[in-house]
Amino acid sequence: MSNEPRDVIRGSTDAQTKTQEARMEGVDNRFNSKLREAFGSSPFILTKFDKFMNWVRGSSMFMLQFGIACCSIEMMHTYAVKHDLDRFGSGVPRASPRQADVMIVPGTIVTKFAPRMKRVYDQMPEPKFVVNMGSCAISGGPFQEGYNVIKGAEEVIPVDIHVPGCPPRPEALIYGVVKMQERIANGESSPVTVKPYELEQFSDLKQDELVDKLASQIDEDDLVMRYNWADSP
């Protein structure tokens, strides 16, 4: 293989004059947006600050780049060309939870991962929102009976929107996200419907056989998560 660029990318270096021309003409018109027209001659509006903030919040969402399982492949397709979630003001994925306000949970959550997911969720600044993607995140999905599988993300963190499917199509995920933006704009949020598993200090757990057994392995002030399978839905 040679290091020469091939013909395909040569010869395509024409100056792009079209945009320039477009901009040179009608320079003033560009600022006369529909919104401006709607306001008429006085460009002022009166609204409640909360309402305005909610609208702003819903219109510019930063997603957490968070891949778990198969659903994350469809999530990538939702971000990428063709579906392009960005069209709806739901931003580009951010790798750090500190910069994100929406977490899409795209996959099966297992015991080892749930404490870490909780921590990532805790690291996101308020206000934050969660979209559950796929049956696994909703209920454990096809793996619900597994010994190691959490029966849905809502067992760990509060969830605003559930998008069913295995995996949901990108269109479905977009619908879910847009629905959530709508709700945010209306100032709605969802309550937690199940009692979530919490990260606790080991010494705070109720003393029982299991705790006694692990006492030699785990430090008193270590954080742990205790799963009670019998209480799971």
Partner: protein
């Protein structure tokens, strides 16, 4: 080839009597599995027997280690085969006492046994004497019980620790000016392709040691399959192992093993459809690998990632027309496929031809953007080198092994489907570095396209009244009790194998998955020691692991 090896190889395959002679009185008993003879050896003579088989008989590939428990014993099976000839197989069966299940470890003979045995210990509870590092691999350290052993109670509560991944070097940190430091990468990190956690020890900027911590996506695939009936309930699960749209390749792994177990024939027409659709999956999976690899190497959502996604969409559209789903196809059935090609057929064939016609141009574009890119080349040539000896020791397969010059591809070496009737090549590269692995994948896309186009030709001319998509399969399948079989196919990432032991019911008694990603990932430490951190990330990207398949 040693003289012994020649003597052992007969025209039909392995001469099992000669192997029995070779192992001598180490063999307690012989059993017959559908794929190979099993030699039962004493638990304290495992390493010896395996060394003999590797050195004298040429069995250099430990494909999988299966552990299971019976009423009266625990058992470990070592499935051996050869890189030079996949049809030569032998199983070494090691029964242990149920009260005290300890047998000798094989980690000193095959490096890949290290991880396999840790998994067996974790899930089934067999302990391995002389294992260098016997701790849980998939489940959390504090887990109680071994979930795939028969006395496990799933309703018992569990406690999982969330320590902050303490620095294991803290104690022997040599003063303030030491350069050694500990770095946690993952489990939530954009470069790990999912939920993988790398415990990395750095010496300055160089990697001194990396210990992949897996199990963040262990969703009990084996248990799920053991709870499903052969006929219909198992097939949906393979789609979710390697979920990079490689679903049909995985389904084929199950179809192949279950068809062998139950003696089911597949009509030729269905075989061609299978071959064609599976190769589409391979293209989609390799494109994802290429796209995310470029993403790892030069930054955020760059052009090449978008290009790869665009081309994957095309493949997914074709597969959606065929199967009705974009990713979780559930299209294969035992004895064939679920339905015929979509109508109007001509239009669908046309779509495929359009895709195939565009493909050379598209690949040209990829090569312009990546292969010949100087930045890319500096990052990948000569980094993450896996030499052939290590590649074999770690049981790597698929593009990873082929990039280290190992000419091993199950589609050709142990043919199934329609592959042996078609004209295509196995791609190998000599470099063994990140660049070679990337090149192998790119060329394999071309080969897959070749296969597809031949299949389309065949399907187009297939007489209308001979379009037999499924053979007759009984409604309930109940293979004879204690039939054992291990079969593999060439998945997107390498040798994807399944071991089934039947127990006389319509559900498998033991269902064990051999995941190529699991083995490939175990080589990461050897590949990235002494390299820089960014090279570690590049190496991980070029291994192309899918965590769903690593953890199962």
């Amino acid at each position: 080839m040693s003289s012994y090896e020649e003597q052992l190889d007969t025209a039909e395959g392995v001469d099992y009597d000669a192997i029995a002679d070779l192992l001598g009185d180490r063999v307690v008993r012989r059993e017959t599995h559908l794929n190979a003879e099993g030699f039962v050896v004493r638990p304290d003579q495992v390493a010896e027997s395996l060394t003999l088989l590797r050195e004298e008989a040429g069995f250099d590939h430990l494909s999988m280690v299966t552990a299971q428990d019976y009423e009266d014993r625990y058992e470990t099976i070592y499935h051996l085969t050869k890189y030079a000839d996949r049809t030569h197989e032998v199983s070494v069966v090691v029964p242990t006492d149920p009260e005290n299940p300890v047998s000798e470890s094989a980690a000193s003979v095959y490096k890949t046994a290290n991880w396999h045995e840790r998994e067996a210990y974790d899930l089934v509870g067999v302990e391995y004497d002389g294992h260098p590092d016997l701790r849980r691999i998939l489940l959390p350290e504090t887990w109680q019980g071994h979930p795939l052993s028969s006395d496990y109670d799933q309703d018992k509560p569990q406690i999982v620790q969330f320590d902050e991944h303490k620095n294991p070097l803290e104690d022997d940190h040599r003063g303030a000016d030491s350069d050694t430091m500990f770095l946690n990468i993952g489990p939530h990190h954009p470069a790990t392709h999912g939920v993988l956690h790398l415990k990395t020890v750095l010496d300055g900027e160089q990697v001194a040691d990396v210990d992949p911590d897996i199990g963040y996506l262990h969703r009990c695939e084996e248990q799920m399959c053991q709870q499903g009936t052969y006929r219909h309930q198992i097939m949906p699960y393979p789609d979710r192992w390697d979920y990079a749209s490689a679903g049909l390749l995985n389904e084929w792994a199950y179809a192949r093993v279950a068809e062998d177990l139950n003696d089911i024939e597949v009509p030729e027409y269905a075989q061609i459809i299978r071959t064609m659709s599976a190769e589409f999956c391979r293209i989609a999976a390799h494109l994802l690998a290429v796209g995310t690899f470029a993403l790892d190497i030069y930054g955020d959502f760059t052009a090449i990632f978008m290009y790869a996604m665009r081309d994957r969409e095309k493949v997914q559209n074709i597969l959606e027309d065929l199967t009705g789903q974009r990713m979780m196809f559930n299209y294969f059935r035992l004895g064939g496929v679920v339905w015929d090609l979509p109508e109007p057929r001509e239009e669908w064939f046309e779509n495929i031809r359009d895709f195939l016609d565009d493909l050379p141009g598209t690949l040209e574009e990829y090569h312009d953007l990546i292969t010949t890119n100087e930045i890319f080349q500096t990052r990948v040539i000569g980094t993450g080198v896996l030499d052939p000896e290590d590649a074999k020791q770690f049981g790597t397969t698929g593009p990873v092994a082929r990039a280290s010059g190992i000419d091993y591809d199950i589609r050709r070496d142990d043919p199934y489907g329609y592959y042996d009737e078609l004209d295509w090549n196995v791609v190998t590269e000599e470099g063994g570095d990140n660049y070679a692995r990337f090149l192998v994948r790119m060329q394999e896309v071309e080969e897959s396209a070749k296969i597809i186009s031949q299949c389309v030709d065949l399907l187009e001319d297939w007489p209308e009244d001979e379009r037999n998509i499924q053979s007759n399969v009984p409604r309930t399948l109940k293979p004879d009790p204690d039939t054992e079989v291990y079969r593999a196919v060439e998945g997107a990432k390498g040798e994807l194998g399944i071991y089934i032991r039947s127990d006389g019911t319509d559900k498998p008694g033991r269902f064990k998955i051999r995941s190529p990603c699991f083995c490939n990932l175990s080589a990461l430490n050897a590949m990235s020691k002494g390299e820089y951190v960014p090279d570690l990330v590049a190496t991980l990207g070029s291994l192309d692991v899918i965590l769903g398949e690593v953890d199962r």
